[in-house]
Symmetry: C2
Subunit: 399 residues, 2 copies
């Protein structure tokens, strides 16, 4: 048997992350490869309590088990306004909000709504691997925009907008995956203005901004959008639970309607039980205390990783030191190929993700991403020590 798959999926054989996860089943491996929230922070007791309450209500249980509306579970979208106002987005009506099955579905629906074969999508380089794969699955053309320590480079962005006339720009302005970088306010405003000037759409992906354990929050790019060009996507995966697959998109009424049409064909609606749980979690005011409880854990783990890097990594290793989120990004000022060295690291029981998978053009073979959220400080110390030995050894041998 041989199959003729679509051009979009024919070349896709599974993401790098996926293959790596298969290597990581051994518990002795310290994994900095994933992007999981800390298991210690998952609200097991609260979800158990909430779920018992909503399913004990016969009328609500019937509504949960029957088909639901594509836009969202009754009463749930009404609770999202305050979350948006916190990031500076005021007065979003219900018709400007769509519940989605994880932030990734929001990205997929934006591509479905805007991309034709061969259209260009700009991304801040490096960026979230899952989005790059989604664009490829729509036969989109990717072009990376340079970034500095504070995020996207505005001159390079405008140059690439002029050259490529992109349909979409994708960015994670808060604690970016993979770099942990956060854009200052002026850069957000400038990008929203460029989108209005040149007429491209912006996906502002925000899974992480609430996981801030230091510094001052920055208002969202969407809050500067006066032209309906920015769609803001936020997720409950890192603040409540990823397993429930519950997130939302906020945009102009016209765009949200189109995303809802796309969602009808995708999964009709997000699990009503998941939505009802998150709804009640917000209503019972478990949301902010849950985040407050998790922040010291994330702060401690990030600090442990930074300290371990200082102790064990070679002098040629430059790295970010984020105020929140899940990731530290590293680059070697030396001929070190992180793709090749991965196997050696695994043999020493430590895993990372090589940085090439996050670049639009698969460059960056001297870079890597380290996740600190789901390992204890002790294991972080041991894992970075192992990585330090591997990389120092390689550099000593000339890369």
């Amino acid at each position: 048997m041989s199959y003729t798959f679509s051009r979009a999926l024919a070349g896709m054989t599974g993401t790098a992350t996926r293959d790596i996860f298969k290597l990581l089943s051994r518990p002795e491996i310290v994994s900095f490869a994933g992007g999981l929230p800390a298991s210690d922070c998952l609200p097991v007791a609260q979800v158990g309590e909430i779920t018992a309450e909503i399913l004990a209500d016969q009328k609500e249980a019937l509504r949960i088990l029957q088909y639901g509306a594509t836009e969202g579970y009754p009463g749930f979208r009404e609770l999202l306004g305050p979350l948006l106002e916190e990031v500076g987005i005021r007065g979003a009506g219900l018709d400007q909000l769509l519940v989605v099955s994880g932030g990734g579905q929001g990205l997929d629906l934006m591509c479905k709504a805007f991309l034709d074969d061969g259209d260009t999508v700009l991304v801040e380089d490096p960026t979230f691997l899952g989005f790059l794969e989604t664009v490829r699955a729509y036969n989109g053309k990717l072009a990376g925009v340079r970034a500095d320590g504070s995020g996207i480079d505005l001159d390079d962005l405008e140059a690439k907008v002029r050259r490529h006339r992109p349909k979409l720009l994708y960015a994670i302005p808060d604690f970016s995956n993979p770099t942990g970088k956060t854009w200052p306010e002026d850069r957000r405003k400038a990008v929203a203005e460029l989108a209005a000037k040149y007429g491209f759409m912006v996906i502002e992906d925000d899974p992480y901004s609430r996981l801030r354990f230091a510094g001052t929050p920055v208002r969202s790019m969407k809050s500067f959008d006066t032209d309906g060009r920015v769609v803001y996507i936020s997720s409950f995966s890192k603040t409540v639970s990823p397993g429930l697959r519950c997130a939302f998109a906020a945009g102009s009424g016209e765009v949200i309607r189109k995303l809802a049409i796309g969602k009808q064909g995708a999964d009709l609606h997000t699990s009503s039980l998941s939505q009802a749980i998150v709804k009640r979690y917000l209503e019972k005011n478990y949301f902010y205390p849950g985040i407050e409880k998790s922040l010291p854990i994330y702060r401690q783990r990030k600090t442990a990783m930074i300290e371990a890097i200082k102790r064990h990594m070679p002098a040629e290793f430059r790295y970010t030191n984020p105020d929140g989120g899940l990731f530290i990004w590293g680059e070697f000022d030396a001929p070190v190929n992180t793709v090749e060295i991965f196997k050696e690291a695994i043999e020493k029981n430590a895993a990372y993700i090589n940085g090439t998978v996050f670049f639009a053009d698969c460059s960056g073979s001297n870079t890597l991403r380290l996740n600190y959220s789901n390992e204890s400080p002790e294991r972080i110390e041991a894992g970075i020590k192992a990585l330090g030995e591997v990389f120092k050894g390689r550099i000593a041998r000339g890369g």
Copy 2:
């Protein structure tokens, strides 16, 4: 503001079903328009009990709330083998099974995996509206294949396969939506053989076969597939709960791998809580008793509708009389336009779906679909009586 949406979605402004549902919020309207399982049959008590049990287990609760595998929740796919064997599909391994977020996601992923712009998809005419919309969203070209009282016409199918060289054929061989028709075994075998001979893929959509309240089950088309050409998609929406969005696809390992890659970008994985609930529902043997309990209800409602049709509908109305599923299909041997008459029916507090939305070429303006599963026998009698008066009046006035 004006947006340049993708060609695929630019023309889609919401399905007919969706617009109709908005009209149906008034409780005095008897709705034969939907496709909802009977609310009386939803297992509220069992889901409440099961959910409490699984969330009380700290280890399982943590697994449910954390990220899960794209293919499915641990242990869930292992339970699907017996369900497949009942429809004649033997020996499906785990690598041949993928959990999806509702059957519709399975259809979407099949289009994503196989369709390039302009590829032809054959459908048994008329067929499930949602699938037609999905194909349109992938810029696919639809071609309808004629059907007789027993399902797809094999001669017309082979002629259209030769003419169009389709990538996909889509069919619902058991209690089709919208017709209620079931294909006999020989036709299933013949279609599987044609797929192997000409090298096209078949989507066998099976949401309804377990809702059989009369007659003898027929083995699946997939059970005749010796060439890896048929993907069988089944859903728990009509046998457990649609609100949980839980279904599965069975196909060759190579195709399932590709669907899983597509699903990674779509929603990463189906809600783990939904999967864990259905898993335990199967383990506790609630599945078959639940269906057994629902069958007399569906049988009674179908019978009520058939009797009411005999009493009230005009002599020019021909209709199917299914042994299961949710739908009766009707055609007028008279110049009756069901699209135009809909408004009049709504004024008389009765709703149906006009048949044109189920045809690949939007023909069939003398046809309609009636759903009997979610109204009581008394309301069915009243609703069909109202429809009978509307249609008799129209025919008396010459259509």
